[in-house]
Symmetry: C2
Subunit: 143 residues, 2 copies
């Protein structure tokens, strides 16, 4: 199902160093899990995936690492669920479907929406980015 083959250790280390973070073993492991393909994971998800991969890191390290990666632009944070933050390894311009019942995120490319006009920004404000969240739920089974 999930076919993102693991990245080579070298590739990941290079990517981390390019982003300006020293490639410690824990960080490399987290990067290999998260950056191997575009996906959305919570800190808890990462923790579980690490254990499953036989490579543990402490909760604190996972949280710190995810925050660090997000600051460096390796990941994007997605705020759609009041209970937890999602980290998105897709750094290409895109937006999200959010299944409000399942709590799952799905990407769609930025080109798939046509945002023809944007509102005037408030006085003295500079645009930082635009997030579009399309909330969806399972369609009622067609009768």
């Amino acid at each position: 199902m999930k076919l993102g083959r693991k990245l080579t250790q070298e590739a990941v280390e290079a990517q981390l160093e390019e982003a300006g973070v020293s490639p410690t073993p824990q960080r490399v492991e987290i990067a290999r899990i998260l950056l191997s393909q575009p996906q959305h994971m919570s800190a808890e998800d990462v923790l579980v995936a690490l254990r499953k991969a036989g490579a543990a890191a402490s909760k604190a390290t996972v949280y710190n690492t995810l925050r660090l990666f997000a600051q460096c632009g390796l990941l994007r944070t997605v705020i759609v669920d009041p209970a937890k933050v999602f980290y998105d390894s897709n750094t290409a311009p895109h937006h999200h479907f959010y299944d409000v019942e399942a709590g799952t995120l799905t990407d769609f490319r930025a080109e798939e929406v046509q945002l023809t006009r944007l509102p005037d920004l408030p006085e003295g404000a500079a645009m930082d980015g635009v997030d579009i969240t399309v909330r969806v739920r399972a369609a009622r089974p067609e009768k």
Copy 2:
């Protein structure tokens, strides 16, 4: 500054009953604060405003009431800050500017964006709504 005159108690009670919630004193007070004008408040904000208005309610009641109002469609929840939920008393179609530094929300009407095309929904999904968040930050003072 904040000129939303308080709604009459009768008007608020009518609004609550129309929404199907019994107008208890605490709920009426919360409604008078929040529904008097379009605004964004966190639970804590409401608690503070209540005290300032000389009408207290317990923390539990405030949280429960806000959740209840949101379920009834009197309020919308806005998820942009991982730390807390905002309740939005503007029920007209609109989206938000979010000042990522100040943590403040500003509305803009839905007609101010032109969302010409929407992506195809995932298989078996029904649209529930679209939220557009324009992240902004204070423009660097023009040199």
